[in-house]
Amino acid sequence: MTENVDRETYSAARVRALESLLIEKGIITSETVDKVIDFFEKDMGPFNGARIVAKAWIDPAFKERLLADTPSAIAEMSFPRGMAGAEGENMAAVANTPDVHNLIVCTMCSCYPWPVLGLPPYWFKDPTFRARAIREPRKVLKEFGLDVSESVEVKVWDTSAQIRWFVLLERPEGTEGWTEEQLAAIVTPESMQGAARVVVPA
């Protein structure tokens, strides 16, 4: 029956048919589905972490508090439900400096700081990546296009259920006078894992 109808129209109708039947039968409600979508679109994005980094770039006192006691510094910010509470409670920020580059690795996605970083990139869960990142971090970073100079120490942090690390990277040049919002827009989840640099749009 699909021959006379284009694929898009058909798929949209098919999904609507499925949902309406499931709702009619009392199996799900449309709110249940909305909640799942909302969770992925609003609560889980990496923009929370980007806002933390941007604030630390602008406010040195906040940066100091963030490094000293990450959970309570995050609690100062008005984040959506669950952000500063249970899910963020054992997070710790490590700062990149001109002498130190930090890289975060992890073996289980359950210890990934989701509320701050969103979904981990595809390679993050890969055991080979983790093993190599610990053994030869410089080489792995280079494969990601990040050439860390020999004079800079690379520290690798293994995130766990006890402490979930994220990287407070250095504010890039060319962002003088930017607002917190503008800064947050250029911070990516991969940069907060120490696997990428922040790119300043020309």
Binding site: Y10, S11, L21, V33
Partner: protein, 118 residues
Amino acid sequence: MQIKFEQFAAASMLGSADSPPRDNGDILFQRPWEGRAFGMAIALSKKGHYEWEDFRQGLISSIAEWEATHCKDDPDWDYYLRWLASLESLVLESSLVSEEELEERTRQMLVEANETST
């Protein structure tokens, strides 16, 4: 830390053939129906109508079936069509909805879509 079912579901797919398209840490929905299909699949499993792993295995085979008959770079590739196909078959298999009902309702929805677009 307790992780939400949604996080568990998304995490289980990462790094595998069934991993959903993402951008900068966010799952992407390009068409409204993708989000509905995604949300329904997770909601049904969360409510215990099937095991999440069963959905994943269905999705993985549905992707493998497509790949067996297409080139990898075929522009016809559509992740969420595979998603929808696996959702449909699991819903039918779990007897949540019958095939006749689904066909009939789809016809009605197509008629409605046609009426609103003209």
